[in-house]
């Protein structure tokens, strides 16, 4: 039995107390909403269902496929859980998974568990379900494509949030953290997207009743589309800023009193990535991020379509 820790699980000690508690507060508010919703709308039957689904996510994270050079792609599952079970249940399921990973395997800390749940459970569920719900009523291929893009973005959102929390805790340089986190997870996210698309395609084939629109509509209101879109937009706008123009964010943080240490980068490893036509403006930085997302979206649509044809 091998259990491989995933790179997004922050251990204790890497976030300071203020950031850890702030993340716990946000997580607790969202989770209490999830708990009260679940208590209201779901019957007894849902408790064992969510428990088994949590075990499913845990087990599914062991499914991997060889990519190249000894590395392998595997599933994190936040988006898949939210799409199949609905956003609130998806959040609770991911919370249970992260809690067990921290308590039983020490993969991820206890004090920073709020941050880990936020990054891997709440953000991923909001983006996964929100974007997917926006595509309900479209053709199956489009829905799969959107699910893939949502899965990729959900991983990127988690990575960006992790980088920001580490930086706010004074654990490193913003630019390097975001570039490293986003760079690694851009690839991990592709594996996540491919597996999510293929898993949903398989469920569409064998048990389409589980994913029919009526049950999906019932699991979350239209507000989720807005929430998913807003968080995605935030990721698209913030990522290039944090990695190419960190001074702006550091300025904001110090104005707001987050940072009391003056931490200026004593080196500049990465050239700003901007679109050459627009020059080095913030518009250009945002456009660079948006172009990246667009490319992934197109790839996901093509992948979704081709999977659809074969199945």
């Amino acid at each position: 039995m091998h259990y491989t820790p995933a790179p997004l699980h922050i251990p204790d000690g890497f976030l300071n107390l203020v950031v850890s508690i702030a993340c716990w507060v946000v997580t607790a508010i969202v989770l209490s909403a999830a708990v009260s919703r679940t208590n209201k709308s779901l019957g007894d039957r849902q408790i064992p269902l969510m428990g088994i689904m949590a075990a499913f996510i845990f087990a599914a994270q062991m499914i991997n496929f060889p990519v190249a050079g000894g590395t392998s792609g595997h599933l994190l599952g936040g988006a898949l859980a939210a799409i199949t079970l609905g956003p609130w249940a998806g959040m609770l399921v991911m919370t249970a998974v992260i809690a067990v990973q921290a308590l039983l395997f020490q993969d991820g800390g206890l004090l920073v568990m709020g941050a880990n749940i936020l990054n891997m459970g709440l953000l991923t569920a909001a983006i996964g379900y929100g974007l997917y719900r926006g595509a309900l009523g479209r053709s199956r291929g489009t829905r799969l494509a959107v699910a893939g893009a949502a899965a990729w973005l959900s991983v990127m959102a988690g990575a960006l949030a992790t980088a920001l929390q580490l930086w706010l805790s004074g654990t490193g340089n913003l630019q390097t953290l975001t570039l490293a986190m986003l760079g690694v997870h851009a690839l991990i996210g592709v594996g996540e997207a491919l597996i999510t698309i293929a898993a949903l395609a398989f469920i569409f084939q064998t048990r389409p009743d589980l994913l029919d629109e009526k049950s999906l509509f019932a699991r979350g209101g239209r507000g989720w589309v807005l929430a998913g879109a807003l968080i995605s937009l935030l990721v698209v706008v913030l990522s290039p800023f944090a990695s190419a123009d960190p001074d702006g964010l550091e300025r904001v943080a110090s104005d707001l009193g987050f940072i009391n240490r003056g931490q200026s980068a004593s080196y500049h490893i990465f050239p700003d990535y901007t679109l050459p036509i627009l020059g080095e403006t913030s518009l250009s930085t945002i456009m660079a991020g948006a172009t990246g997302v667009l490319v992934v979206l197109v790839v996901a649509i093509v992948a979704g379509r081709s999977l659809q044809k074969r199945s």
Binding site: Y3, P5, H9, P11, D12, G13, F14, L15, V35, T38, D44, I47, P48, L49, M50, G51, I52, M53, A54, A55, F56, F58, A59, A60, M62, I63, F65, P66, V67, G73, H74, L75, L80, T84, L92, V93, V97, L103, L104, F105, Q106, L111, L166, G170, T171, N173, A180, L194, I195, T196, A198, A199, L200, A201, F202, G262, Q263, S264, S266, L307
Partner: protein, 263 residues
């Protein structure tokens, strides 16, 4: 798979094993918070905290190095903190050429990096000890008493109970894939990257459906045995005087750590 494959609980009857699980969870969290509060470079306090961990190890009869041997799990994450070495202004203590960039390690950066790693390393040891001396269902039960919503603790209990069943299921799926992925000598097995990803995705979908259908069966079985929407225990917890004494001693220990960290 055997149900204790993941469980590091040791069947001993030491003082620490017999403590109330709520106290153990609280002390562990308090210890981790105390670590987070210690300032950078508080070496004496770090040493005291390590002493605290060692005493807990000895008292739980696991051997003095028990948690130390298992504490390296969080170490890879130290990579995330490596940039503080270069990014905090201070007296340069060494520099080297990395590809085309000059990297300068500062004394303040090194101090911060080492402090972060030590804090993390101490915290993870305490978490390891908690699982080693408390059965997992008891931890979950303690969480219920500590006001974690029942929905969440019940999901966690189910997750724990069916973890082993579903890992077996995954192992079967993985073995089946391996058995069908024969390659002739000198030839790569399996198709393109997309094909491999699709197969992995189908496995995930398959596992999802099996789990979904299994949960139906489980619910019916639970109903048949009188499930009324809540799980029950036959081991209600109650505090004894010993629990209070240990609790107070630990808090005093942590206050001393904080005090030495600040003088």
């Amino acid at each position: 798979m055997h149900s204790d494959a993941f469980d590091r609980y040791h069947h001993k009857h030491s003082l620490i094993h017999q403590l109330d699980p709520r106290i153990k969870v609280l002390i562990t969290v308090a210890f981790i918070i105390s670590n987070a509060l210690l300032p950078d470079g508080a070496w004496v306090a770090f040493l005291l905290a390590w002493g605290f961990v060692l005493v807990a190890n000895v008292l739980s009869q696991l051997g003095i190095g028990y948690t130390f041997r298992r504490s390296f799990i969080a170490l890879p994450f130290a990579l995330a903190a490596i940039t503080v070495l270069f990014s905090i202004p201070g007296k340069p203590i060494g520099s080297f050429q990395f590809l085309m960039w000059d990297m300068t390690v500062t004394d303040a950066g090194l101090l911060r990096f080492v402090s972060i790693v030590i804090r993390s390393w101490l915290s993870v040891q305490m978490a390891i000890l908690l699982v080693a001396v408390t059965e997992f269902p008891k931890i979950v039960h303690a969480l219920t008493h500590l006001r974690v919503p029942a929905v969440i603790t019940m999901i966690i209990s189910f997750l724990y109970r069916y973890l082993f069943v579903l890992t077996d299921e995954v192992m079967r799926l993985l073995r089946a894939r391996q058995a069908r992925s024969a390659a002739s000598p000198g030839q790569r097995s399996g198709g393109s990257l997309g094909w491999r990803a699709r197969i992995a995705g189908h496995m995930a979908g398959q596992l999802f459906l099996r789990s979904y259908e299994r949960s139906d069966r489980i619910y019916n079985a639970m109903l048949a045995r009188g499930y009324k929407g809540e799980l029950m225990t036959i081991h209600p917890h109650h505090f004894e005087r010993r629990d209070w004494i240990i609790c107070v001693l630990c808090i005093v220990g942590m206050i001393i750590m904080q005090w030495t960290g600040r003088i």
